[in-house]
Symmetry: D2
């Protein structure tokens, strides 16, 4: 997925610090690597490394990054990006040196790359970010604005992109609006971010989203946005369901609110089954928690937590204790036995991809003494791969391509498994122009492979 951020601030001692805190707030969009690039006005300095934002930067690094324009990136590795370096990348073209940070995917990556290879382009990574850089540098246009407008018109894909030159920030959002791009402001300082959740921590306010298919320029004169091309909107619905932080607004809708409404829809779908009998409802932390609360408040069924989540686990390099392979799941989800024992439990999860986690969770809950376990899933069955930046290439790896919900219930040992009906998603999100390709297979027709 990756998180991107860009800033123009009058206070050139604060830019690196602002990017740092914004990246901290965007850490959920990528924990593999992070980087900051800041222009002094004359040249661009970088600090990038593998690991979590907090592990990479120290005060001395910020002190070595003066300047008023800067961009940052948190990296999440998708299939294609695997062999890439750490962003922002450092490039030079005939328009001068620039730094680039990117979230998303070019839909005809392989074909285009082969074409460029044949034309003599030298690649140093296997990322579509680099592909975009070659597009830019090979353009015949004489200005950044024209070059980027051309890119929007010619490169099909789902992407949000920020570019730092010596004296400007440029930003692009794909014409489908599939990827996210929020605008922040504090007095005369301007910000671009993958998600609005990062603005409060730097004292800025969310002032809207970049219009899909636009080229944004932030310079000393402030913010300007030029609309270049628009397709029927196809914003990624999965961001609402799972990926984005609940405190972010995506195109003016609060993610948390969507998730609560999904809970209400799930109740509406299942009220006949759960009206009778005593149940408790809970969510797999953390994205499904608001779904469970929404369900509880709509239904009057008691909400409770059933797992203690270890807040210190992001990534472990150590193999689990081998006597019992599944014991690793306890590291992340340890049962709150007193809330489980003897209960009939409705457990909501945001989505089911490969089915491993839900299988382990059901086993843990049963061992803790639950009487019944009903799984509700806050999104439809996933059948199709994503080519727009989410790391789901699927096929047989998608559990729902191998069984029905009832078979899944049997497989994992649950009493029932119910997925959200696809037609309930748009009402829950409050928008109808969504990309739902992973569930329905109808990809935006403007993309090609």
């Amino acid at each position: 997925m990756c998180g991107i951020f860009a800033v123009y601030s009058q206070d050139d001692n604060e830019v690196a610090r602002q990017i740092f805190f914004a990246l901290m707030a965007l850490q959920h969009r990528g924990q593999e690597a992070a980087g900051i690039a800041i222009s002094t006005g004359v040249n661009i300095n970088y600090k990038k490394d593998s690991g979590m934002v907090n592990q990479i930067f120290r005060e001395r690094h910020l002190a070595e990054l003066p300047g008023r324009f800067g961009i940052g990136h948190t990296r999440y590795s998708t299939t294609i990006n695997k062999t890439g370096g750490r962003q922002p990348y450092q490039f030079a073209c005939k328009l001068g040196p620039f730094a680039i940070a990117h979230n998303g995917e070019i839909s005809n990556y392989r074909k285009t790359k082969q074409k460029l290879l044949d034309e003599g382009v030298c690649f140093f990574t296997e990322t579509d970010t680099e592909l975009l850089a070659h597009y830019i540098t090979r353009s015949n246009k004489d200005t950044w604005e024209e070059t980027l407008a051309e890119l929007i018109r010619e490169v099909p894909g789902a992407y949000s992109l920020v570019i730092l030159t010596n004296n400007e920030i440029w930003a692009l959002r794909d014409p489908l609006g599939n990827r996210l791009m929020s605008i922040g402001r504090k007095n005369d300082d301007w910000y671009i971010a993958s998600e609005s959740c990062c603005f409060n921590v730097i004292g800025a306010k969310n002032v809207g989203s970049v219009k899909p298919g636009s080229v944004v320029k932030i310079g000393v004169d402030g913010y300007t946005e030029r609309s270049v091309l628009q397709y029927p909107r196809a914003t990624c619905a999965f961001e609402y369901v799972y990926f984005a932080r609940p405190d972010s607004q995506i195109d003016d809708v609060y993610v948390n609110e969507v998730r609560q409404r999904i809970g209400v829809e799930l109740w509406d779908m299942t009220r006949d089954r759960f009206a009778e009998g005593e149940y408790i409802v809970s969510g797999v932390p953390e994205s499904a928690t608001p779904m469970a609360i929404g369900f509880a408040n709509a239904s009057g069924i008691r909400y409770n937590e059933i797992f203690a989540k270890n807040r210190y686990i992001h990534r472990t390099f150590i193999k689990p204790v081998d006597t019992e392979r599944k014991s690793a799941v306890y590291l992340k989800f340890n049962p709150l036995v007193n809330n489980i024992k003897g209960q009939r439990i409705i457990l909501i999860d945001d989505s089911i991809v490969r089915g491993n986690t839900i299988e382990h969770l059901v086993a843990v809950i049963k061992r803790a003494g639950a009487k019944e376990i009903h799984i509700l899933v806050g999104s439809p069955e996933i059948h199709y791969p994503c080519y727009m930046g989410i790391d789901m290439r699927g096929g047989d790896e998608f559990i729902m391509n191998r069984c029905t919900p009832d078979e899944l219930a049997q497989l994992v040992g649950a009493d029932s498994v119910t997925f959200l009906e696809i037609e309930r998603l748009a009402p829950a999100i409050g928008k109808s122009e969504l990309c739902t390709a992973c569930w329905t297979g109808s990809y935006p027709k403007e993309l090609e492979w």
Copy 2:
């Protein structure tokens, strides 16, 4: 606070791995440093470092730590321990080499240290762990068991302690039972831990607590426990309220259950005020969440989340953006505006020590548009310092030594502040033999300073 762990396992390739995962699950008890010591039967090897468990250990370190007996430690720095090194410490005495890991505090530390200094003892840290080591090595007893029994009889304090020799684990729990010590078992493998929440992840079961004032020995023959001395029990109530993980059992009581019952007690105290009007109830994550759920389920008042907590922040070395000092709080607690705007909010916090956090939270909630904010605190007013291992030395730093609850409400901008009545604590915990000194000033009389 610190977390301690000890293991005897038949499988000498798994001991380091088991300690690693147990320390991961005990990470909340100390994020400053961590260490593992394992005996090969002939000598003891160590791997210790500053930082989080996950950052310190790699597979190659575990491979360099073979053996069937081992101990581990996660370090939280209290006033006294500040200048200490990383545990487990490595010592030798006339009984041979040993490693020691400790959680707690010797109550007459300063007096005893001065006495030992006068007698010619050479100190290399300022920790009470080292003080205990000198007690051990200066004893006239000929065996570990007699030495440790003498220590229990003579050293007043609140501590739990594990010692690793070449072929045994020894463990002590203070005669007040103030500090915690759980016993785990998997077939013929035995474990000692600060909290039971770490047992599932290594495939072990919680089989009870070490009796206060006992010396435990774990050798190739298994587990033996010898009761040496018992005072009227004074288990730390603050562990239930705040410090322990909700999925731990402390002396057979689930922490999560206690916290939910505290919510019920808070409702019972305030039902007259909140019965009328529309409210939502929420908790400051994470310890107060079950309190809020308990309150909601008892009262019928709607539970909801009002903050998105950034799960990636444990410690930051970077100073906050300086234009607005308080902006840092947004990093940890960003408001879910859609759940707050226009609401009357009952916010439960587990405790209030210096009052800084609650002040920031109220400001954040008000700015997000709450109509009213009522603070309920899941424990009484803190007035007295802790000398038993919790880092609260207080005096004027305790906000409740400087104002009344009503004044606090005014100070932080809340509509009301209400603390749990002290007599409701024991019923909520379900035990009466508790140390409540920080609230009442009645310290266990067996301690001296």
Copy 3:
């Protein structure tokens, strides 16, 4: 300068180890960074970092680099290479993925780079290594051999280059033979190296030099060399004088032997002055030591050491003690007072560039009580910049552009300063086809800027 190395070995577990030891022996050619790239036959793995070879690699890194073909690099930063990353670089072109490591300089770098920029090439470093990579990938040729032959014909410069593909090593030496390239062999294993001094340590033998202007291919069938283009030879004379290790053979001549003969020439130039009176002769460690020994053995004047060189100083990040700026020189060159006091000293240095070192050394020697100090320099006066890979861009920075030898003697406080006559250099080296541009200003006419 940089050091390069390439290997094809039948034993695919030893390739990384061989490169490691070869890079250790080539460490003097670059201490800034080092890297190894090895092909598994299917893909190429890398390990690169800043710092000394010894600090970068551990056994586990070698274990992660299996394969029979590999290249390595030690990096020395010249003006142009300053903003480059660590080599070997990782690229892909239409012929497949490749790794490249380079020593030298493209003589029309700026002009060519601008041309490529205008044509839409995207640069990610400011190195001429990358420029070469773009040449390669933009070629119309269909094979590596034709592509590299074209490169030799079209790119003017002084370079030696090794390229690793999935199943071959390719190597180029510039048609002037300015940069060095030795061939090593052990049974059916083949090696390419900047200097032959690295062959003994891996059990290989020096079997000659690559002919200037040739394309070398090393594959499973062994070593083949194709001569493409030859200019009148212009091997860098400075390599003999200063840069190369004394135990290397450059195009069949031992560096150490050359330096001893330079000492003989210096004696021949100055015999009239030093025949009378008692002198001792010494050399500035380490390159001038054989010059001093050659001088001593030719003249009968006693050789002795006058400095203890600290063998642990390669680079220090700490500023010197500030009370006395020059004290830092003592860290590297501390006087052997008993050998200096009351003596008439002839001190040989290999070359004088900016004059700082010699000034400090004379001050140190005088303070240690020398009666006289005569400086002999084992190479002529430097007046002209190097554009062929040695980091001397000069102008006013060259001390000999600002004063005569006599003025220099006065400036540094020596009794005399004498430079090697330019016509004595070729006899000392035993070759006449040399690049002497830095002394004479006659650059090889095949180069252009």
Copy 4:
């Protein structure tokens, strides 16, 4: 061996920097670890780590170490010290907190340690440095001076020791004068060091040696030395022969001068054999180089270098290329073939301990084409272990306990091997009060085991 250093300087911003540079100059006395301790006047701060001085310290570390009194240490691991931590150690006793750094060995270590263990002392390392600390803290004396005077009188051994308290430096030299301790001065700033070679780099002058058996105090009032106890002097002769830097003065005698005189003595011993025929003489770098020069200048036999020593090798963690075990020696000593081929070579080494190095060197020289190889050793045959701080525990490991010089010559393939006659050592050193126990077995009788 270890290097120690202490400083009192008026300029409290320069103390850490001065220690850094002094430790750089003392790096040859220990490359395993290094540390600095500096007192602010109120407390003592430390920076210690494994590795070379240059790798450990950065400007920011120096900035965090303000103060006018400080000590430093470079660590070389001897048998006993193996399990010790990094020095300076940090201790507290009834006289207050102190730091301690030490070079040497307590001769009755094991006996005394057992006694202290029996008396209840808790050990945290296996170093004699810690033993000394316990002596100090257990003393009945009320002042540092009396305590340290007592230590000198009661603890037999060969040691030099510096102690840092909040406001003073204390230093001890053993009554045999076996270990070294030089005094430096710059205006009113005072220094103590293992060797005088470190004074120039900090702008100080060598003003003599600490008298054996003295307690030194350096405070704001300057330097005072109190003589406590003196035995017949037994300065370590091995320091002159091998360990010390050539530019150091040990008790007023230049090490370099001694080594040159050893060369003269070797010539005097062998003149009959080498007067006829053409030879060259060379030394194993670096300690034997002055011996070879002394030999050359006395004999008229031509001096030349025969090895290029790789100056970048201090320690390698990588196992050598395995096809030919001995190839590793080429990393350190690569032959200068042009100086060797066809020659009769006299090679001087400073000492022969286990015989491995000389065996490899002879093989290398022979393969490079030498006609004859005669080994001269600049010290007698080693037969006895050192108990005074040099890491030679010997027995069968000493090659000269297993064969005669002639047998050794045959074993290693040399034409002859000749050791310095013991009675020539004192004249070469210019002192007769030396410890020669490793050669003769006559240990200072004041020591006990």
